[in-house]
Symmetry: C2
Subunit: 442 residues, 2 copies
């Protein structure tokens, strides 16, 4: 068999990197649980018609089929696709299980998703997202929109990564403002402004003229709104200074003031009202979030989301929600790429128990059992080679200690192979220093 | 939108069941790490030709394609399929990264896999497996085959589930024995004997005659071998008593004696030599394992694996390995179905902080912050409804405590809503009893 090669867009971490990922996921999960979010996992597949409800994302979907499905007939089966995010499956789950759930329902969901996009730096075809959402029946209290950034702020602060800035906006501000200045297709205007970071103001102005029918003055007003940014409620004054009046605009400003003020009260410096934030996906109807990792702004948002009022409804009952999603693979990919995140050793093992000769392997196994009972990750040497070779086995993997079982009544000894220090020890009692017990991430 | 319905074979747990699953996965992972296995995750997809190398599994594969792939040409792209186990991807990973890995390489891998099989009780199309494998370059020491059941025994003993019996056999025994009695197609004989539990000895004898060309005496000998079972090395005497002589048979018996004796020494009662165990997949070449959950034997094996010598090789270099896989979804599905495994509450939350009125929500948020800093999972009430209604919010979710912030200088109070006991408390100092801090699984 020839040597296999990687598949573009489907990243695979080394075991060391996977330890970092697990550390990160454990911390995120712990924070989500501290806020009372219950865990959920949905199946990887959804009916294709569910996935295609939002036209914009249809190009990204992977369809699956059983290799031998044709031969067995029943070609009319519902087609299934891999989910491209965790929000659409969650909305479906809520509708399917509404009778069994208690509302408001708070859940977190950490899973892989798949998108058939063209791979590029920071973009993957398979990646892990860590989501929280709160949905309620009929109405969702606005304070939940203020809670999202606080949870994310705590989760990301628990990680050994640079600090973040969460940029918040509100779709109602944009939509109300665009209507207020006389634009009839606010969706199109939003899509144009969403490209501001990528193509710059001049080209956005062209796009506003072409796709949203904006006059020069209207385009200028849209860009002026998008330029507003403030770490506090003063953004509202800047919006008012533009002299546009619209009830939806006012509602959006009030909601955004609340989000920004709550954040300032509980987590100063975390959030900024940034009125250029639009979010490409079109199911958002209120607050929207993006997150910049300081020093890595050129990579774009590592955590995004927003409020959606129309994603799930059955008959007269609707389930408005708000959610936010950490792009874990994206975050790790860029920090690994920058050499900014690593682990202290490539294996969990803290102790390698040497084997004097194969006849005495049982004695080494017994030492390992005692150490494991104390919670010390332990391997037994795979071979009874010369001790020098066994020590090199530990060295190559970053295992800090090698244990030598005593022979013929002699005491056991344990060697710190970094310092060379070797002391007598009893397996039932010995513990390494806490910083050596598990690999450390940083 | 009409109410969505489940998709057969793609199970979704409730949040409470997902908590149980996370508990189980955390415990399994902790045991794997105590034995020094490093974590690995591989992508969900493999090139189709990789997945189809073993003919027997080809019918189970899901193929994926990008919905808009046709429109963009390049129809000649390598086809990708979802992996149906974690062993084939691991073998590919080892070949791809051999230059960067230290051998013997010990890794664990806990991931979903997909099989397009007809769904039935205990069989899923999407399910989680938890695997350990050890691979070495060129040769793999046989003591690794004895280590596998010990790790699994520890991992499963750490769970609140019934005890297990691990049944072990060795392919060399079967193959050597079949050759020794003059059968020329030992593979066919193995496949026939593998059906013993399903179709019984009479039909296996027929099958042996039809597919392996066995005479009546040969079929009888095969069945006699398959009937041998012992918790210790005495199985070897029973094999010898059948009077068949073959060098491969002797090698297999020696290897199995070692596995059984090591298990008896370190974990009495865990393993049984059971010579009917064959394993359907044909890449095993030595020891094979199956695991019965006591009281649930009719559901079949919940943890299986074996030694494989020919799964990964590049040019003159081969990478023999041994691995074993816990069928986590299968295990949970049958225990959930039997009502034998549950969690004490449906949310992680230990405390609900009541909200006196919306103007005082910030005060409740501050209490929640203090409790979370002490590691107490805490929610703030979503509404400032009457306290009775807020308490019912907690009751419905099994949240044990409701916290009432003091108003106008009064002390805060916390109520155990199960006993009704209410005491004054300070958020910075209060802790619930340890058994209430997190949901308990059992």
């Amino acid at each position: 068999m020839s040597k296999p090669t990687p598949i573009s867009g489907f990243p695979e971490w080394t075991p060391g990197q996977r330890m970092v990922e697990q550390f990160v996921l454990d911390r995120i999960r712990a924070t989500f649980e501290l806020y009372g979010f219950a865990p959920l996992e949905t199946r990887a597949v959804e009916p294709l018609d569910q996935l295609l409800r939002k036209g914009e994302t249809s190009k990204e979907v992977y369809v699956i089929r059983r290799l031998h499905a044709d031969a067995e007939g029943a070609g009319g089966d519902d087609q299934l696709g891999l989910h491209f995010d965790l929000t659409v499956p969650f909305a479906r789950y809520v509708l399917e299980n509404a009778g069994k759930l208690a509302f408001p329902f708070r859940r977190y969901q950490i899973q892989k998703v798949w998108r058939g996009e063209r791979p590029q730096e920071g973009r993957y075809r398979e990646f892990v997202q860590a989501d929280i959402d709160i949905v309620d029946r009929d109405t969702l209290a606005p304070h939940h929109e203020a809670e999202m950034p606080l949870v994310i702020g705590d989760a990301l602060r628990s990680l050994p990564i640079p600090p973040v800035t969460i940029q918040v906006n509100n779709r109602k501000i944009c939509e109300g403002f665009y209507r207020g200045i006389g634009l009839t297709d606010p969706e199109a205007a939003l899509r144009a402004v969403d490209k501001l970071d990528k193509i710059g103001p001049a080209k956005v102005a062209d796009l506003l003229a072409q796709t949203a029918g904006a006059s020069e003055a209207q385009a200028k007003a849209c860009l002026a709104l998008a330029e507003i940014s403030a770490p506090d409620a003063s953004f509202a004054d800047a919006v008012r200074a533009l002299g546009v009046s619209d009830p939806l605009l006012d509602e959006g400003v009030d909601e955004l003031v609340r989000v920004v003020e709550t954040a300032a009260e509980h987590s100063p410096g975390l959030c900024v009202a940034d009125l250029r934030i639009a979010r490409g996906l079109d199911y958002y109807t209120g607050t929207v979030y993006e997150t910049q990792l300081r020093g890595y702004e050129r990579f774009g948002s590592i955590c995004s989301g927003g409020r959606y009022d129309n994603l799930a409804s059955a008959g007269a009952v609707s389930y408005p929600g708000v959610g936010i999603s950490i792009g874990v693979t994206r975050l790790l990919g860029l920090l690994f790429g920058a050499g900014a995140l690593s682990v202290s050793r490539e294996v969990p093992t803290a102790v390698l128990v040497a084997v004097t000769n194969e006849e005495r392997r049982t004695a080494s196994n017994r030492v390992a059992e005692a150490l494991r009972r104390s919670g010390v990750p332990t391997e037994v040497s795979p071979s009874a080679a010369k001790f020098g070779k066994q020590i090199r086995y530990a060295e190559r993997r970053g295992i800090p200690y090698v244990w030598f079982p005593g022979v013929d009544g002699a005491s056991d000894e344990v060697k710190d192979i970094r310092s060379g220090e070797q002391v007598t020890a009893v397996a039932q009692e010995w513990m390494p220093p806490v910083e050596d017990l598990k690999p450390t991430v940083g």
